[in-house]
């Protein structure tokens, strides 16, 4: 049973447009969410996070939105750049287990 689901394995967006990556979760105990970005042949790198007490967190071109009632979060990238092409992982932290649970990832391709 996957507690964090990224239902879109891939997404293509034109340069300059908005990229929206979605993530759904089932564990009500998650109290913190993170997005990681991964380039080929490299390890994941932290991108942005959000606490469950907030519904939005912004960092430059990246904004994460959290809808707790729907158990859904999304990452918005505006404007998208070719260098943003990577795999994006959503992850949740269980308040009691204190472990990161990752989704399966979404491959974003930004077309020039």
């Amino acid at each position: 049973d996957q507690q964090v689901k990224q239902n879109s394995p891939s997404l293509s967006v034109q340069e300059g447009r908005i990229s929206i990556l979605n993530c759904d979760y089932t564990n009500s105990m998650f109290d913190y969410f993170l997005w990681y970005k991964k380039y080929p042949a490299e390890g994941p790198t932290f991108l942005i996070s959000i606490s469950s007490i907030k519904d939005k967190n912004e960092d430059g071109r990246f904004t994460v939105f959290l809808n707790k009632s729907a158990k859904h979060l999304s990452l918005h990238i505006v404007p998208s750049q070719p260098g943003d092409s990577a795999v994006y992982f959503c992850a949740g932290i269980d308040g009691s287990a204190r472990q990161l649970t990752f989704g399966s990832g979404t491959q974003l391709t930004v077309l020039p």
Partner: protein, 114 residues
């Protein structure tokens, strides 16, 4: 080199052989982690360590052994490799466990078990 390194980067082995994947970090982070990445599963935690000589199981520990005699090293051993252990393995480290403590990942080891 500063940061977190893994060796080897690529490894091919046969079923039943013992394999050790190495992880080394230079930040003196107290926590270290091992994950495996498989298609359709994202990254799954195998083992983690809070400090030297302190280790604990993650989500998928079966078939793996870890040790941490020094803060900077966290080797992962497959005592008798199986084909299902073919995967990409990532080591990570952080100042604290989770939450506000960012985990820094190594470049990964691609392991193939024939």
């Amino acid at each position: 080199d500063a940061g977190i390194t893994q060796s080897p980067r690529y490894k091919i082995t046969e079923t039943g052989r013992q394999v050790t994947l190495m992880c080394h970090q230079t930040w003196s982070h107290s926590y270290m982690f091992w994950y495996r990445q498989d298609l359709g599963h994202g990254l799954r935690l195998i083992y983690y360590s809070a400090a030297a000589d302190i280790t604990d199981k993650g989500e998928v520990p079966d078939g793996y052994v870890v040790s941490r005699s020094k803060t900077e090293n966290f080797p992962l051993t497959l005592e008798s490799a199986t084909r299902s252990q073919t995967s990409v393995y990532f080591c990570a480290s952080s100042d604290g466990y989770v939450g506000n403590n960012e985990q820094f990942f190594g470049p990964g080891t691609r392991l193939t078990v024939l």
